[in-house]
Symmetry: D2
Subunit: 302 residues, 4 copies
């Protein structure tokens, strides 16, 4: 259960079978950092090319295809003062007939991040909102493992290996589970958001470089899509287009989870999901959209 402090020097804008930057044991903890969506680090210096450059991959000893990798996010915080967010709403979240009324130019606003106070504050006052202040709610937008079929998939999109899910529920205290497709799993992470609305509908949260601490665990279990667990919820994640298919994947993975792990019958599952299920929308901006199907753990039989 070692703790590794790892300072990245190389970044990848693709999740695939690259040379591991560090090998860690099952149960180990890693303290590292990520650059922002545009490759800028804690000093706001451009150090990585591409979109959502990833720290990693981390090779987890003992992780084999068919296993499940658990990644618990112990801590995550922006590690610099400047955050940037688009204020331009994406054309794919408004009616096609309304797009012509939307401004064409893409505009970025700057925010001052204060992790101690826990705030993000608009640097240039907005005419209506002034120096608008939001509470920090740090999350990672893109993280995951090397994909199936020896693919290398851009950090702009998502699939069953994780990737660019942009779900604002993936913050500190949450454990995310991935199917393992290659030896060592090869875990990547990046694209921290200090704050982000549902759907990431401007294509950005408040983007910043981050300090992140996470702990890995290998579990001998086969899953199909990412799953996650917070203090209150179990969650299944669907990454696909359109939203309908993302929701189908998430719901199906939740049903499998309840059947296989909790040994619940069809009717019991129907009671729980029919009356207690919640859906969250991760992103509706990236090439693959993300839907979370979640169930409060208080409803689960002990």
């Amino acid at each position: 259960m070692a703790i590794h402090k790892f300072r990245p020097e190389v970044y990848h804008d693709v999740l695939g079978q690259f040379e591991p930057v560090l090998r860690v044991d099952d149960g180990d903890t890693v303290i590292t950092s990520t650059v922002d969506n545009a490759g800028h680090d804690a000093s706001d210096t451009h150090v990585a090319h591409g979109i959502n450059p990833q720290t990693g991959p981390f090779y987890i000893e003992g992780a084999n295809p068919g296993d499940m990798l658990a990644v618990h996010f112990d801590k995550m915080l922006p590690n610099r003062k400047i955050g940037r967010a688009s204020v331009s709403i994406a054309s794919n979240v408004v009616d096609p007939d309304y797009i012509a009324e939307m401004p064409e130019e893409r505009v970025i606003y700057e925010w001052e991040l204060d992790p101690e106070k826990g705030t993000a504050t608009l640097i240039n006052p907005d005419p209506e909102l002034g120096r608008f202040v939001l509470n920090l709610s740090p999350m990672l937008g893109c993280f995951g493992v090397a994909p199936m079929r020896n693919q290398g998939i851009a950090a702009t999109t998502a699939s069953n290996h994780g990737g660019n899910m942009d779900y604002n529920g993936f913050g500190a205290g949450v454990t995310v589970y991935f199917p393992v497709f290659v030896q060592g799993a090869l875990f990547f992470l990046g694209d921290g958001h200090a704050v982000q609305g549902d759907g990431e509908i401007t294509g950005m949260g408040i983007e910043s470089s981050f300090d992140v601490q996470f702990t890995v665990k290998v579990i001998k279990k086969r899953i199909n899509c990412p799953r996650a667990e917070s203090s209150d919820y179990i969650m299944a994640v669907g990454n696909a287009r359109p939203l309908d298919q993302a929701l189908q994947q998430a719901t199906t993975e939740m049903i499998r989870w309840l059947k296989e792990d909790y040994k619940l019958g069809d009717h019991t599952i129907g009671v729980l999901l029919g009356q207690c299920v919640k859906y969250d929308i991760g992103n509706v901006y990236d090439p693959a959209y993300t839907v979370i199907c979640k169930l409060n753990k208080k409803w689960l039989p002990k």
Copy 2:
């Protein structure tokens, strides 16, 4: 500002231009009742045919095409002890390849409703959940006005006139706004659910007849889709298929709202929606799906 106690004797399974059952003034309050999704009343007697039979229509004096009708739900509660809910998850919310593993037979569970304690309790113990108890969270699944273009649209589906939206946020204390398409608006309501998970993925909440009290108001304003307001949120509603289009409609209506009523500029809207928007999924079961785009009122400039 009269208060009308209205006891329905006729029900419609289509929202359209039927003979009004009652004419009320702008500002009036109506106390009435609805039958359940299958046409059973407070005594569990079958009194109405079709699916989601509606009480109404109520003719609101002074409501003209191009106006907006505000319906505030003052109170709503199940008015009988028996509730019924399907435990069979719909085929359209799971992966097509997984459907063959789902049970085919549609199964209904009965619940005991206790409005005083505020609980719904499984009548026959589930093998895993026992006599499972949920808190009542009463909502109306289907309500709305006579549709545009002189149509008559079944109470099984939804469009910009409202209809079968099945959103679990539409309970007491909420005001819902509709575009008015015909003289008198012709407001209908029905399909009460004692409890319902997101998406209505078994095709039913815990269905019951209801007592409902609502107050109407005519506002001289043109809107495109239903809107709503709770103590905390403003909400815009998209009813369409697929989910993507429902979300596009809801987001577009929210942008219009912020522009026209709150006089916000594009960039201000981009800040608010980009970092603070929330999406809820009403239903993913009916012919038209429902997505809610909502914004906490605390973020709105005074």
Copy 3:
């Protein structure tokens, strides 16, 4: 087997349970006319309000809910010289990010129709195409029966009762089959196009009033969606959104047809559809899209 010459005086922009304009017997033929999409007749006079005003409804004696109505189009031709078509491509058929580059203004071009020569000719020469000439390929865009559940559905959209399918394969010589939902079936027709590309992507074909001759037949068979038959093909029609669902409906209805009427087994159907199926796109413009699943009759076992 009477032949009725019927001159319409009233039109409906909704398909629903209106007073029949004519009662005909099973096997009868009707010779009538339709106005164009904007309600203009053979003399280009505005005689009907709404979009796609329909001639009818025709009450077919002996047609009962659960039956199938066959409508054979004996003849159809534009009955005036002037046709009109939009040249503005709809926003929902191009990439959301490309819409801002499309012209906003909706522009209509006029065409000279010559049924004897069988041509449509641009009246004002296009700078690139000059006096562009196309062969007439007359079709009806909107026709169908009174919908299920006592609904009244606008002639702008489509469902399992038919309606605004805008499929360029629905011309003379084709028989279209509808499920019957109400006594007398109540058949409507209108929205003739002299020419139309796949998908009706400008929202219009070359629109004209039409002379139409059709023959009806009642068949004691239950179907779920419209079906059709030409000299070469059997066709099943899906009307829904998104395109994927329209295709699913059409494919499912074709499978049912092959199973129930042709008594083919699953594997035989798999051979035929897997290697010989064709799909056509009716419209991708209207609220419900239309996909046709078709199979050449030469492949069918005798």
Copy 4:
């Protein structure tokens, strides 16, 4: 303009930046072979792992990112007697509610291929169809170039680099154009079908190893999606989910083509596409669906 006879020894089930198997000049012709979808060669021996193993990549001298690669298929024919096709219709092309009525077991039928007679004949007589005979219509299901952003994308899916498009119009005599993303373009090909219905709705055409002859050309032009040209048509290809988005991509690329290469104005394009466009459905089976937007070349101004 050399002619290269190339006998493959290595295959890839991913399209990405692998070591070129052959370097050819702009204008050169390659005569080679492909294995079938399951990795079986002309002798029906299993020689390649994965799904749709690809021959290549071929490095084309002078092809640089931002260029367009033209691949003309001079000849393609099955090179063995045995073909195999599934008769099991995919769950995603039928109504979700109908899936439970479809057979679960996946069944493969064998076909005898006779390139001289130009026929495919069922080896085991079907109870209804007997020894059913179809005309060969050879096509390649999967081919393309190395993808953008240094990705490696499985030969089971498609994107703007081509890939598993499964369009039955991609046979001999057709030229397909690809955007070039990496030096040398890196062209791959495989997955030959002797016959295939629209949509590849059983997930397979009649699969066989193939002999293929193609000629490459580098053109200094930037395109966004694959394009193609046959003797009669120009075609633009959209690869995405859902079908709606594939159609949007294809239509957008066609509009760009008409604007940029044919220098047509918006209204001229609206005339041509509005009244003359045709859509074909490539596949509705793979992770990305394929739609072809095509226009008969006779309509294009000289």
